[in-house]
Every structure is written in structure tokens, then in C-alpha cells.
């Protein structure tokens, strides 16, 4: 679990698309619950967030934004591994909407 400015990891909220995750870790903190393949960016905010938004934390927060699904064609991807296995499906719905489903088993 990451530590920001010496704060405890419990005091460092993890947000997924702005929604707080209360259990963002798997395997005792060894792996995160978020599949890295669907992450567009992760923002590490040190401090209490006075400039951007109030995050209710003393040391900081981690905000993870997911990417959009593919808009050109349907795609399916998966992997099998010792630590985890995953499967994702994405594709377009019409010309302006896309979907992205992703699941992982650790």
C-alpha cells in the first residue's frame, strides 16, 4: 500500500473515477483491485486538496481514471497468470458511445 507524506495507507483514499474505493487491495495489499489495462491515468494528490477539491484526507489521495472503450471495433482480451487472470470486452455502441467490461480474478 502506498504512503503519501508519511501518512498511513488507511488515511490515503483511493478513488476510481471520483468514487472512493474502500477496499482497493488484494492479497493483503500486494496487488491492487484495479486492472492496470483499463487505467488511463492515476493522479497522486499530496496534501488535503485545497486547490482542486476537498478530499477529506490529511496526507493525500489517489484518483484513478479509467479509459474509454474502443470505438472502432469490438475487442476481447484476456490473460491467465499465477497471480491473476483477467478478461475484458470492449467495443462501440453506435458512433458516440462505447462500453468496456473488465474482470479479474486473483
Amino acid at each position: 500500500m502506498p504512503f503519501i507524506r508519511g501518512g498511513t495507507s488507511e488515511g490515503t483514499p483511493v478513488l476510481l473515477d471520483g468514487v472512493r474505493l474502500f477496499n482497493a487491495f488484494h492479497l493483503g495489499g500486494f496487488l491492487s483491485a484495479i486492472n492496470a489495462e483499463v487505467v488511463e491515468r492515476a493522479t497522486i494528490l499530496a496534501g488535503s486538496g485545497g486547490d482542486g477539491m476537498a478530499i477529506g484526507s490529511l496526507s493525500g489521495a489517489i484518483d484513478i481514471a479509467t479509459r474509454d472503450g474502443a470505438r472502432d471495433e469490438m475487442r476481447m482480451a484476456g490473460s491467465l497468470g499465477l497471480a491473476s487472470s483477467r478478461l475484458s470486452v470492449e467495443g462501440p455502441i453506435g458512433s458516440s458511445v462505447s462500453y468496456l467490461f473488465d474482470g479479474r480474478r486473483t
Binding site: 500500500m1 502506498p2 504512503f3 503519501i4 507524506r5 508519511g6 495507507s9 483511493v14 478513488l15 471520483g18 482497493a24 487491495f25 495489499g29 500486494f30 496487488l31 491492487s32 484495479i34 492496470a36 489495462e37 487505467v39 488511463e40 491515468r41 492515476a42 493522479t43 497522486i44 494528490l45 499530496a46 496534501g47 486538496g49 485545497g50 486547490d51 482542486g52 477539491m53 478530499i55 493525500g60 489521495a61 489517489i62 484518483d63 484513478i64 481514471a65 479509459r67 474509454d68 497468470g81 499465477l82 497471480a83 491473476s84
Partner: protein, 157 residues
């Protein structure tokens, strides 16, 4: 023989110095490019740059004849003077401001708008490209990757 040649070369070179200032408020102008060239002959040009006090020194300037001194600075008109001989006293250069007109720039943003949280000056952003270049343990992990932020420390396993 070699000593004589060196002496002749030394005699044909001069050192130019001076101060560059704004002609309006007389504030010193830093990083002004000073170039000294001989108006005749094939002597190599010498150049120098003014410091934060506007002072400059151009060693190795062409000597023994007329020289042209050009001073250029960003946002100022080019200053040019011709001297019959390289001046031994420091010269005073007053540059006239010449505002630079910039063309309009249109910025378009594609994709998703930024999160409010990422607008903070304390925010450190790891994009998907950086995420895939970081070393992994078993697999790429976004929360482990946050350790590259200066304010976050590595997870304790």
C-alpha cells in the same frame, strides 16, 4: 618565429566591453547577443552575451580596422554601430523595445476532461504510457506505480 606570429595575431585582436540597457527605463538587459565583425578583410567575428547586469565582454574581436558591432535581444530592435577602430572604452548600448506580435494559438482538447482533483498544483499524474514503462512485480499495478511520485513512498510488502 612562432612567437612573432602570435604577437601579430594578438595585436590584431581587441577586447570590446560595454553595457546593454533598455532605452525607456534604462534597466539592464540580460542575454543580449553582441557580435563584433570587421567591415573589411576576412577576420573572424567575435561574439559575447550580456550578463544579468547588462554587462558584456567580447574578447578576440577583430582589431586594427573598422568594426561593426551588432547587439540583438529578444523583444528589442537590432542595434548596429560602426567604429573606425575598436573602442577601448566600454560602450553604452540602448536598445529600443520592439514588441513581438504573436499569432493566435488555438488549443483543442480531445478525450475526457480532466478531473478536478488533477487540477491541483500538488497533483502528480501517471498516464497509461508511464504506467507501462515502470518495473512490475508479477504484473503492472497502478497503486504500486504511485511510488514514483515524489510525495509517495513505496508500498511495504
Amino acid at each position: 618565429m612562432t612567437g612573432t606570429a602570435l604577437l601579430i595575431v594578438a595585436m590584431q585582436q581587441a577586447t570590446l566591453s560595454g553595457v546593454v540597457r533598455d532605452s525607456v527605463d534604462l534597466e539592464p538587459i540580460a542575454y543580449a547577443q553582441v557580435t563584433v565583425t570587421a567591415t573589411a578583410g576576412e577576420a573572424a567575428a567575435a561574439a559575447g552575451v550580456s550578463d544579468r547586469y547588462g554587462a558584456f565582454v567580447v574578447p578576440g574581436a577583430p582589431g586594427g580596422g573598422a568594426v561593426r558591432v551588432e547587439v540583438a535581444a529578444f523583444g528589442y530592435a537590432l542595434w548596429t554601430r560602426t567604429y573606425e577602430t575598436p573602442p577601448s572604452e566600454p560602450i553604452r548600448v540602448l536598445l529600443s523595445p520592439a514588441p513581438i506580435g504573436l499569432e493566435g494559438l488555438e488549443v483543442s482538447v480531445a478525450g475526457r476532461a480532466g478531473d478536478p482533483i488533477s487540477l491541483s498544483r500538488d497533483a502528480f499524474i501517471i498516464d497509461s504510457v508511464l504506467l507501462r514503462t515502470l518495473p512490475t512485480i508479477l504484473e503492472t499495478d497502478v497503486l504500486r506505480a504511485t511510488a514514483v511520485s515524489p510525495s509517495a513512498s513505496a508500498p511495504s510488502d
